[in-house]
């Protein structure tokens, strides 16, 4: 077109000359917040990161697993036995139901075993030697992390096999042993040296003799507590820990039909459910407080009830005689402490199993100067180091929840500290990242998708065998579950900011996954991008005046 009319006819797109950025009083910026799942994971997993990979399915599963094992070498185990505080923290729980993180973790762990995926190649040897006492989750985790850093690691354990409580505490119906063995083998394949049936009694001597530069002690808590029950001799009384240990070693304890388990923790449930499988037709759990106050995990309680375990709340065993025990009714006082009522009842009992707590055998530490023991546990600092330089400790023997996840977390944290200690550069504390709360989520953008229910073993087999009760997810349901993740606090490339900006002031890189950017020459600072970000990964900050 020649000689277009002046002023009334304009060239297209000429408004690019008008920089509207100077209208702005607030500017958007992308942030990375701490997802509640990561925050809640004692093992320190970057759950959101591996879910992100898993969402792609196919090749994404291996990428997801590799991200996962950076913090936890035992996904298949953890996917079975973890009480998943991550799911308790999951924001999606406030929308419909928490993402089944644990089931996806198990799926990935099983995929790895099925496909023979191997752990990362360790770094170049440092020549440093570390002794790990205890082949439980904590020790294994520590050994794994140290090995990756190029240190030589020797694990010593008094038991016949590695695994600690994973093998000798957790019944097989919760954790199939072949799975455990597979994941352990993978760690030892890294060059970690395992010495079983080798109790360590004198730590300084062991270190000197082995020329170890540092030691991580994680001997667990394998000593079952006892309570005196009058007349106890008459009937068969044993403690849960040794019972479970025995079962693992192939013993078939004669429990009889009527088994009374005394205690309210997970161990009590393990004992009762194992007893059921050993022929006890109607195990009873006796607990001094109410169900609400029972420390055991809800999921386990439900499974136990499904298996016919019965409960006697607010009860204590005052005496046991031949074929029976005497229960006394309790009531909670104002402080919530159970008080005897004098109200007695006799129930039949062939066996009484005590599950009233476990302690660590701290003989190993007692002579070490500087080591401080309180409440039957060893005190450690932020770095997991005891009062004795170079001696680190973790797992059930230090103050913390006694779970596999916590143990694994201890192990890797200790490994980081030991590595730093060996290098003379103290490990940096975790950066303080703001937590991504549900309020920052814009739930509208997430379509409704209730979680997948994992299949379970049928009742008959649950009553008679130690087969695994809870089954894994198949590919499609694992994918479904992974994709339920809201990606709290971190961009997942949904293009929403790019799409909703009325001023076209969000720049999108060509490829997916690459970060978006704000075109501050044109952004007017309306804040729609932040408000409409599904996962709360954009915040508005005032313009510097």
């Amino acid at each position: 077109m020649t000689e277009r009319p002046f002023a009334i006819t304009l060239d297209v797109g000429s408004s690019l000359a008008n920089r509207t950025g100077d209208w702005r009083t607030e500017r958007p910026q992308y942030v990375r917040r701490m997802p509640p799942c990561n925050h809640g994971c004692p093992a320190g997993e970057d759950i959101q990161a591996w879910l992100f990979e898993a969402e792609s399915g196919g090749g994404g599963y291996e990428r997801a697993w590799r991200t996962l094992v950076q913090s936890n070498p035992l996904p298949a185990v953890m996917g079975r036995v973890c009480y998943h505080p991550c799911e308790t923290a999951c924001n999606r729980g406030q929308l419909d139901e928490a993402v089944g993180i644990n089931s996806v973790e198990r799926f990935l762990g099983d995929e790895a075993i099925r496909n023979g995926w191997e752990l990362p190649i360790p770094g170049p040897p440092t020549g440093r030697r570390v002794l790990v006492v205890g082949a439980g989750p904590s020790g294994l985790s520590c050994a794994y992390q140290l090995a990756l850093r190029g240190h030589h690691v020797t694990i010593r354990d008094q038991a016949a096999k590695a695994g600690g409580m994973m093998r000798y505490g957790i019944p097989a119906y919760r954790l199939q042993r072949d799975v455990l063995d597979d994941e352990l083998a993978r760690i030892f394949a890294l060059g970690v040296q395992l010495e079983c049936g080798e109790p360590v009694s004198d730590l300084p001597e062991a270190m000197r003799e082995g020329a170890f530069d540092a030691v991580f002690v994680a001997v667990g808590a394998h000593v079952g507590r006892h309570v005196d029950i009058p007349g106890g001799t008459a009937s068969h009384v044993l403690d849960a820990v040794s019972m479970l240990h025995g079962v693992e070693e192939g013993e078939k304890p004669q429990l009889g039909r009527r088994v009374v388990v005394y205690g309210g923790g997970n161990t009590a449930l393990d004992a009762a459910r194992s007893a059921r499988r050993l022929g006890a037709t109607d195990p009873v759990i006796v607990y001094r407080r109410t169900r609400e106050r029972m420390p055991a995990h809800e999921a386990e309680m439900q499974e136990a009830e499904q298996e016919g375990i019965t409960f006697r709340w607010l009860s204590t065993i005052t005496a046991s005689g031949d074929g029976h025990v005497m229960l006394e009714k309790m009531e909670l006082d104002d402080t919530g402490f159970p008080q005897p009522t004098g109200e007695l009842e006799e129930i039949e009992a062939d066996t009484v199993v005590l599950a009233v707590g476990q302690d660590a055998d701290l003989a190993l530490m007692e002579d070490l100067d500087g080591v401080e023991v309180a409440d039957h546990v060893v005190q450690v600092d932020e770095q997991m180091m005891t009062g004795h330089r170079g001696v680190f400790a973790g797992g059930d023997m230090v103050p913390a929840d006694r779970t596999v996840a916590v143990a694994i977390g201890h192990g890797s944290r200790a490994a980081r500290s030991i590595d730093g200690w060996l290098r003379g550069v103290p490990a940096l504390p975790d950066p303080d990242v703001e937590l991504a709360t549900f309020e920052e989520i814009n739930p509208w953008y997430y379509s409704d998708a209730p979680r997948t229910i994992q299949p379970v073993l049928d009742d008959v087999r649950r009553a008679t065998t130690f087969d695994e009760v809870v089954k894994g997810l198949d590919h499609s349901s694992a994918l479904f579950e992974a994709r339920r993740c809201l990606s709290c606090g971190n961009c997942f490339s949904c293009d929403n900011c790019f799409g909703v900006c009325p001023d076209n002031a969000v720049l999108k890189p060509g490829a997916d996954g690459e970060p978006y950017a704000f075109d501050l020459d044109f952004c007017k600072g309306c804040g729609i991008c932040a408000h409409e970000c599904p996962c709360g990964a954009i915040e508005m900050i005032p313009e510097a005046s």
């Binding site: 077109m1 002023a7 009334i8 304009l10």
Partner: protein, 417 residues
């Protein structure tokens, strides 16, 4: 070849030969016969590659024309009277956007009182809308002006209004020469729009323009009309060259060269007056008549030259600027400003009242005698006025202005009997 045709049919057939691509119209007397004929030609296929759009109002008629013209289509519409006023907003828009739309205005009075007969109130009311306004003295010229209008519009990228008297011309049967298709094609050539809506070369048309540029935009449209003052005579000459007929131009003259009294008229009344003027000439009177064809742009300089020899100028017009008097006369007066030539206004033929030789002869006699008032209303029914004025003014005073007007038309306020 000449044919005995109704004016409207002649216009329709001539417009068709200009090959419009879009015709949008809303019916209004006395324009109807033109658009009826065009719609028939489109449906029958006699007018090819043309869309006829039946719109729901004149406002939309012009709006459709605006959209079509901006898309590069040669566009035509026709209206009259109230319809032209209903278009008003769009008329300004079409000229502001520089869209070369051609429109026939079948001149008709404006209500209230509603009146379907001919005068020029409609077109005159739109004299400032930025369109070129051409007036036809007879049907042949009306036909020929439409061809020239398309040329002018497209050459300058400005809309053109061809004004022809409603009924007097639109409904009159007379011999007409319909220009041949080849000649029209050769004269017009294809439409090459100055700007066009096209995805291959997108533009933004119709921006909001502020104080920083609005004056310049207006000035440029003024320049366009000034250019038209030069182009209109050229186009008319070229037309004569090709078609062998006089048509258009800024104005045409009869016996004006040596005339003491020059009568200026617009439109079809020229014929009747020409007859009278010829008779008076035979009787030795020094009178001539000037037929103004281009009212917008107004040929100030050219008129000044043409009228310079006259002793007096009488502008006879079919519209009244209520509260002022003549409209064309005002422009004539400005053309003569600085000269001592007296100008007179004769308001005639409002709302279809016939302008006849019977009253023109005495009018011109009075004029030549130098006894014509500055503003005169031809054939005014003074008895009615007298009665009404008296009735209206009972108990109140009409005031010196009103009374001087009344004196001009020979009414001295009567006392109650």
């Amino acid at each position: 070849m000449r044919e005995q045709l109704e004016g409207s049919q002649g216009i329709a057939r001539t417009v068709a030969r200009c090959r419009p691509e879009v015709v949008s119209a809303y019916p209004i007397t006395p324009q109807t016969h033109i658009v009826e004929a065009l719609s028939r030609m489109v449906r029958s296929g006699d007018l090819e590659h043309c869309e006829y759009v039946n719109v729901e109002s004149e406002f939309s008629a012009m709006s459709v024309a605006i959209g079509a013209s901006a898309t590069g289509a040669r566009t035509y519409t026709a209206t009259a009277s109230q319809g032209l006023l209903y278009m008003a907003e769009a008329l300004f828009n079409a000229s502001g956007l520089g869209l070369p739309i051609v429109m026939t205005v079948a001149n008709r009075a404006i209500g209230s009182p509603i009146n379907i007969w001919n005068d020029h109130s409609d077109a005159m009311s739109m004299r400032d809308c930025g369109w070129i306004q051409l007036y036809a003295a007879d049907n042949q010229e009306a036909l020929d002006l439409h061809i020239q209008a398309f040329f002018l519009a497209e050459a300058l990228s400005v809309p053109v209004m061809v004004c022809m008297d409603g009924f007097v011309l639109t409904h009159a049967f007379e011999p007409l020469e319909i220009p041949l298709q080849n000649d029209v094609d050769a004269f017009l050539g294809p439409f090459e729009p100055r700007q066009v809506l096209d995805p291959d070369d997108p533009v933004t048309i119709g921006a909001m323009v502020g104080p920083e540029a609005f004056t310049e935009v207006r000035y440029l449209s003024h320049i366009k009309q000034m250019q038209a003052l030069d182009l209109i005579p050229e186009v008319s000459a070229d037309f004569r060259e090709r078609f062998g007929r006089e048509a258009g131009g800024l104005f045409s003259c009869l016996h004006t060269d040596d005339a003491e009294t020059i009568v200026i008229v617009l439109g079809s009344v020229f014929g009747t007056i020409a007859d009278v003027v010829d008779d008076l000439r035979e009787q030795g009177s020094s009178i001539g008549v000037l037929s103004l064809k281009s009212f917008r742009p107004f040929p100030t300089e050219e008129l000044r030259a043409a009228l310079s020899g006259a002793k007096r100028v009488v502008t006879l017009e079919r519209a009244l600027q209520v509260g002022v008097g003549g409209i064309v006369s005002e422009n004539v007066r400005s053309a003569l400003s600085g000269t001592s030539i007296p100008t007179h206004t004769v308001i005639a033929g409002l709302g279809g009242r016939p302008i006849t030789r019977k009253t023109l002869r005495p009018l011109f006699a009075t004029a030549m005698a130098g006894e014509l008032p500055e503003v005169h209303f031809l054939d005014l029914r003074e008895d009615v006025i007298e009665r009404e004025i008296w009735r209206a003014s009972e108990g109140s005073h009409t005031g010196p202005h009103a009374e001087s007007i009344l004196r001009n038309i020979g009414i001295v306020r009567a006392e109650p009997v």
